[in-house]
Amino acid sequence: MAVTAVPERTARQQPRPSVGSVASSAPAPLLQVEGLKTQFPTRGGWLTAVNEVSFELAPGTVLGVLGESGSGKSAMLRTILGLQPKSARISGEVILEGRDLIAMSARERAAMRGSSVSMVFQDPMTALDPVFSVEQQLVETIRRHHPMSGEEARGRALELLHLVQIPSPERRLKAYPYELSGGMRQRIVIAMALVSNPTLLLADEPTTALDVTVQARVLDLFHELKGREGMSIIFVTHDLSVAAEIADEIAVMYAGRIVEQGSVEELVRSPQHPYTRGLLEANVRPGQADRPEAIRGAPPNLANLPPGCSFAPRCDLVEDACWSALPEPVHVSASHFARCRLVTASESN
C-alpha cells in the first residue's frame, strides 16, 4: 500500500503535547462529545448526518476532522454549536467545561456562543452580512458579550483586526464586506470568533474557499492562534495535508461516523482503515482531494445506511461479515483506533 506517501510537511512538525483523548494521564478534557447523533427528516426517511460520534478534546489541542463532503463533519460542528435546522433530531451529549450544550436552554446556549465557543465558516464571501459594515458587525458582537460603550467597543474591534493581521485596520473598519478580498473577510470572521477569547474554536474548512496563496497565510494565522493559551480548535477539512500540518490529532469521518482516530504521526504512518488508506493515496495526486479517485464509488445515502460497515460497498477488502454487523472500534495503540474488522488481522500480517 502507498502508506509511504507521507506528506512531506509532517516530517518537520514540532513535537506535540500529549493528546488527551485516550491517554489516561491527560488532564480533564475541555470538550467531551458522547454518542452525538444528528438526523434530518427527508422524503426518504430520517437522514443520519452525524452518527454516534464520541471524542474528547484536551485544552490547547487541535483536532483535525477529515472527510469527504457529506461525511457529516460540518453537521457535527453545527450540532455542537446548536446551529442545526429546527427540524433536526439530536441525541447525545456535548459537554464543554462541564456543561452539556445539548441539554441547556436555547437562551443559555446563545450566551455560550461567541464567548466560550465560536466558529469560523467555510466561505467568507457568504458568511458576513453584506449590508452592515465591518465595524457594525464587530461592535455588536463585542457588546453582546462585554457590555461597554460604543467607543470602547470600537477600540477593541481595532485591536482584534490588528490581532488577525489586517493592514490599515482603521480603514477596513469602515468598509463593507463586498469591498474586501476573500482572505481579508476570512480574517474578519476569525476576529469575530476571537472576541471573547473562546476556549473552543470550531473551524469549518476555513481555507477551502480561498486562493492557494491566501490559504497558506490564513493557515499561518491558525498556527499562531494555536499557540494562544488554553484555546482548543476543531479544524474540519477534506485536505489531509492541511490537517496534518495544523492538528495534533486527526479523526477521519465517513458517513457520519468517526472511522479512525489517532495522533497525526500514527494516522499518517500507519493508517488502519481502508478508507483512510484511500484518502492518503488520493492525497499524493493533486486536485483529487474532495473526491478521492483511489476510492471507487460514491458515499452512501445517509437516509439508507447499509446495516453493516458504511464503507463496505466501496471497500476493496470487503468480506461477507462486513455487511451484517457494524464493526466496533479496534485500538492499535492507546491513542489510535479504527472501526474495521480487518484491523487486527492486517496488523498481525
Binding site: 445515502n301 439508507n304 447499509p306 446495516p307 453493516g308 463496505a312 460497498p313 461477507d320 461479515a321 462486513c322 455487511w323 451484517s324
Partner: protein
C-alpha cells in the same frame, strides 16, 4: 462462525441495500408532476369547485326553467329562501340562481380568454426575443417594459374605455395588459436554455431558427409559462368582473357576475344578501384558480 447461511444472509442484505436507492422504473417529469398534484388535497378541491362552476354554467338551461333575462315584476327583490327562488330574485324579478348560472358563462369566458390569447402572443414574442437576442430582443423587450409603467387595471380600463363597452373589447384590453408579463417570463426562460447542448445539437443538424423554436425551445419553456399563466387566471377573473362592474363589459340584459353586482348595488338597503351573491361567485372562482395555480406550481416544481 462463517456458515453458508450467514453468507447468504449477508449477500441478501447487501443486495437489498444496493437496490433500495434505485427506483424500479424512473417516472417522467409529467408523471411525477401528476402524482404530486393528485396528492395535493387543496388543489383537488379547487379543481372540484371549478368543475362545478363550469357545469352549472354550461348546463344552465337544463338546471333551471327560468329565463335569465326576463323577470316577473311582481316578484322583484325576493330574499334568499323565497318560494320557488332558492336565492331570491333581482331588481327586475329575475331568478338569481338562474342568472348566477348563466352569468358564469360570460364571466369565465371574459377571464380565461385573455390569458389564453396573451399566452400565445407573449410566448411567441418572448421566445423569439430570448432566442435571437441582440436588437430584436432590445426592441421587443423595451416595448414590453413600457407596459410596466402603468397599473395594469388602469391600463385595461383606459383601453376598454377608448374601444367602447362590450365583452370583446374587454377581452382585447385585458389581452394587451397580459402580453408584457408573459413575454418577460418566456424571454427569461428561453435565454436560460438557449445555450444548452440540445439547442446546439439541433443547430448542428441544420435546423433553422423557426424550427428550433417550434420544436426545442417551446417544449422546454412550457412549464414556467404554464405555471405563470395559470397564476394569472385568478386575477384575470377579478379584472374582467371589475371592467364589467364599471359598465365596460356586457350590455343589459345579459347576465355577468361583475355587471350583476353593479346593478344590484342600489338594492343593498332592501335586499342586502342577494346583492352580495355575484361577488361570492367571482371570489369562489378566483380563489379556486389561485389555489389550483399554487398546486400546479408545486407539482411541476417551478421556482418563482
Amino acid at each position: 462462525m462463517a456458515t453458508d447461511a450467514m453468507t447468504t444472509d449477508a449477500a441478501a442484505l447487501a443486495r437489498q441495500w444496493m437496490d433500495a436507492d434505485a427506483p424500479a422504473s424512473p417516472e417522467s417529469y409529467l408523471q411525477a408532476g401528476r402524482r404530486r398534484f393528485l396528492r395535493n388535497r387543496v388543489g383537488l378541491a379547487a379543481l372540484g369547485v371549478l368543475g362545478l362552476l363550469v357545469v352549472t354554467a354550461v348546463a344552465a338551461p337544463v338546471l333551471t326553467t327560468y329565463d335569465p333575462n326576463v323577470g316577473v315584476p311582481a316578484d322583484r327583490l325576493l330574499p334568499i329562501g323565497a318560494d320557488g327562488h332558492l336565492v331570491g330574485t333581482d331588481e327586475q324579478g329575475r331568478d338569481m340562481l338562474t342568472r348566477l348560472f348563466y352569468g358564469g358563462r360570460l364571466s369565465l369566458i371574459a377571464g380565461l380568454t385573455p390569458v389564453l390569447i396573451a399566452t400565445v402572443i407573449g410566448t411567441f414574442l418572448g421566445s423569439i426575443a430570448g432566442y435571437l437576442g441582440g436588437w430584436v430582443a432590445a426592441i421587443v423587450m423595451r416595448t414590453m417594459d413600457m407596459f410596466y409603467a402603468f397599473p395594469a387595471v388602469l391600463l385595461a380600463i383606459a383601453i376598454s374605455a377608448s374601444l367602447g363597452p362590450g365583452l370583446v373589447n374587454v377581452i382585447i384590453s385585458m389581452t394587451i395588459i397580459y402580453i408584457a408579463p408573459i413575454a418577460r417570463v418566456a424571454e427569461a426562460a428561453t435565454r436560460k436554455i438557449v445555450t444548452a447542448e440540445f439547442i446546439e445539437a439541433a443547430r448542428l443538424t441544420g435546423a433553422g431558427t423557426p424550427r428550433i423554436i417550434a420544436t426545442q425551445v417551446l417544449a422546454n419553456i412550457f412549464s414556467p409559462i404554464f405555471v405563470y399563466a395559470s397564476g394569472l387566471v385568478g386575477l384575470s377573473i377579478v379584472i374582467a368582473a371589475s371592467l364589467s362592474f364599471l359598465g365596460l363589459g356586457v350590455k343589459p340584459p345579459d347576465a355577468e357576475w361583475g355587471f350583476m353586482l353593479n346593478s344590484l348595488r342600489g338594492t343593498i338597503y332592501v335586499n342586502p344578501w342577494v346583492a352580495a351573491l355575484p361577488g361570492l361567485f367571482i371570489f369562489a372562482t378566483s380563489i379556486s384558480f389561485n389555489m389550483l395555480a399554487d398546486a400546479l406550481r408545486d407539482a411541476l416544481d417551478v421556482k418563482d
